[in-house]
């Protein structure tokens, strides 16, 4: 797989309320052997934000779009529409982009499964999953979606293993942060991503054997041949 096939664009809220799900998504994607990309990774004030998004979207085959913050602002009574806009750019790239852009795949997350029908019914038919703001449901949705879109030779860890690994990582995270007089809440996106990457490298766990290798190991007698 090339770099394009290993990158996942993260189009999700970055507020404090969503942080628990964001952190779990980053860990889940990296544990599945892919790399997350998002607008927060580069802090180049000179670059126009939407140009930055175009570049990142063009470089990613996969996209996770969370529409759960499409709610009315308490002051202006208007919804925030950045995430549906970025989803539109992603879908447009898949539809009109040249070459490998046509292989794009996206997962749309929301709090409730059918809420999108009220504000964005045109996306019906896409892969839409509800996470109810729960970490475990979000991890399961991402894992199952990636497994369905990656080659069958690449077996991903089970949802249960993913959750267990994430729990272990989160248990160690406060200690890791204390090493630099920091706390998990103060971590920047890049810091967090870096820690996730190294933690997974440092704490490898045996993955299940791919199905083709299992069948190759079986003797002809056992297979009834």
């Amino acid at each position: 797989m090339g770099i394009y096939d290993r990158q996942v664009f993260l189009n999700v809220p970055f507020d404090n309320r969503y942080k628990k799900v964001l952190h779990a998504l980053v860990f889940g994607v990296h544990q599945c052997g892919l790399v997350v990309r998002c607008a927060q990774e580069a802090d180049d004030g000179g670059q126009v934000r939407v140009d930055k998004l175009y570049n990142i979207i063009a470089e990613c085959r996969f996209g996770i779009h969370d529409l759960s913050r499409t709610t009315l602002d308490s002051e202006y009574r208007l919804p925030r529409f950045n995430m549906p806009l970025e989803l539109g750019i992603f879908l447009g790239a898949r539809r009109y982009g040249a070459g490998q852009q046509g292989r794009k795949s996206c997962l749309i997350l929301d709090r409730d499964r059918y809420r999108y029908q009220v504000f964005c019914s045109d996306i019906a038919g896409q892969d839409i999953r509800a996470h109810s703001n729960e970490v475990e449901a979000a991890l399961r949705a991402v894992r199952n979606w990636l497994q369905a879109n990656l080659p069958s030779s690449q077996v991903l860890p089970s949802s249960a293993l993913l959750v267990r690994r994430y729990l272990e990582f989160r248990r160690q995270l406060p200690f890791i942060c204390r090493m630099e007089s920091s706390t998990p809440a103060e971590l920047t996106f890049l810091d967090y991503k870096r820690l996730v990457t190294y933690w997974i490298e440092e704490n490898p766990e045996a993955l299940p054997v791919p199905p083709d290798r299992v069948s190759a190991k079986r003797s002809p007698a056992r297979n009834g041949l």
Partner: protein, 60 residues
């Protein structure tokens, strides 16, 4: 309606590549002999850890 410009916080990164590697290695050493076996042992991880468990509905 007046236009509101949202000021983005630019926090400084504290974990360079080397610092991140060192911290992760130290955590591995510290927690190597303390595997997570039950919800009870998870709770010993402190306030931050309890908060995380709350996301999974385990902390209560």
């Amino acid at each position: 309606m007046k236009r509101v410009s949202v000021k983005r916080e630019s926090k400084k990164s504290v974990f360079t590549t080397q610092k991140a590697r060192t911290a992760v290695k130290a955590a591995k050493k510290k927690y190597a002999n303390k595997p997570v076996r039950s919800a009870k042992s998870w709770k010993k991880g402190g306030r931050e850890w309890s908060r995380v468990l709350g996301h999974f509905g385990v902390a209560e």
